[in-house]
Amino acid sequence: MVQLLPFEKSLEKLEVGTPAYDKELASIYNKLSSYQKTLVSRHADRPHGLDYINRIFTDFQELAGDRFYGEDQALIGGLARLDGMPVVVLAQEKGHDIATRQKHNFGLAKPEGYRKAIRLMKMADQFGLPVISLVDTDGAFCGAESEERGVGEAIAQATAQCLRLSVPMISVIIGAGGSGGAIAIAAADKVFMLEHSVYSVISPEGCASILWRDPMMKEAAADAMKITAQDLKKMNIIDGIIDEPVGGAQRARFDAMDSVKTFVVKELKALMKLSSKDLQTQRRKKYDALTR
């Protein structure tokens, strides 16, 4: 059984699968607030980066290391096939229990994670492989060692590397798109968000603490910042929304992942028809126009 979120309490009394349950679930998910979506996007049972890699890619070969300092399991990378097409895949992974959360550092990547991403994007360019990134992080790791090794520089260079590619890149925000930690692997030709994912410059909690000086104002902050897939699509920040099963990806993990696959494969095929030059021209126009 999937763990119930606070605003799902009304489901407790209902039997899963009954028409009453389905009706109530749909009713809850039809009117999720921005902060409720934030909670859905963070749900522990939501499919994570490695879940997608295992489900929708084949022949995955993880590649480790930045060739400078270390290997960062918060940001997984490697070669794989998507619908038979060889690609480079980058995926943030938060972990799902104590051991895996520690191993993946809760999806908070360090400079070496972003530098590995840069290396693999260059490899993609070198061998003409598209890049697929699956974004799910609360942000880059905020620790002294991250600052020491220049996490800002690493994020900036990773972002620049996305924009420099001569191959297509597609990003999907599968959970949390946490600020610079996300954009570093999400400055793509096409950026899609799952229906209940969020993408923001700071967490609602952080924004509330700073602007309201009260972390309890997180709901107001979430609303004000416009962080949902629906908000971002309306502002033309993202290129599309991938529907989730009713009740969220955490309730039908395989269905959710399979629909991401179908969606991405279709978009990727369209991008692969473009020449490198057309692709880069289109990308430039996209980022020129963004937020204007």
Partner: protein, 282 residues
Amino acid sequence: MANSCKFPQKPHAKYAEVSDKLWMTCRECGDMIYSKKFHSNSKVCPSCGYYAAMTPVERFELLFDGAKFETIEMPIPSDDPLKFTDKVSYADRLKKYRKSTGEQDVVQTAVGKIDGVETVVLCFNFAFMGGSMGRAVGEGIMKAAGEALARKAPFVLIPASGGARMQEGINSLMQMPRTLMAIEDLKNAGLPYIVVLTNPTTGGVTASFAMVGDVHIAEKGAVIAFAGRRVIEGTIGEKLPDDFQTAEYLREHGMVDIVVERSELKSTLGNVLSLLTNVKKK
């Protein structure tokens, strides 16, 4: 588009309120200091050596030969994309800062000569909403970089920023790739891109245009950080060294090329520009 302004020795009137007074108090050491001396010393406290924030115009006067430069008008995107309100509305905040600074937003740009090299300089005004990066900053950097490209001139960017402008939400974050794309154009054209890191340069700014310079010059003691010291100490419980995230610390950790005294900034910048553009020194 670009209107010519030639400034005399003294700071731009808009920022000179404080220099109307004969004596002022140093924000750092609390000493009473002779206002004229403070300003003639490029806003470095004669008592404690504290580097006070400089306005863009003050920077331009400091850096351009003979304090001569042309300003380049910065594009100002429509206000308040999210209709954002916290305790105060963003619209009201903008009004307040526009009134206090006399400027429309954070960044200002000028073109002039530095040690004889025609250079486009963009400077942040920390006094405008903490130098926060919204669409105006992004558009400004894109415009300034475009100006450098058109003139085949080096581009010097002088950040001073607390980071993202949260009131613009995702629009702020999107300035990271947008500005990086503009900088990439300069690199492809073989034009130098120099970042002069000043106190403070933090948050999203250090995860984008401020960290991809060909050369990184930092003012002595400037705090340069992605995540703030208190955030790190708070969430991680790590004890941090005193010089953590200072210019000197970043140099030691490979992120900054040159740490300069403010008094050496112009000559250092001039030498670097001259070497990278292969212009004979005067």
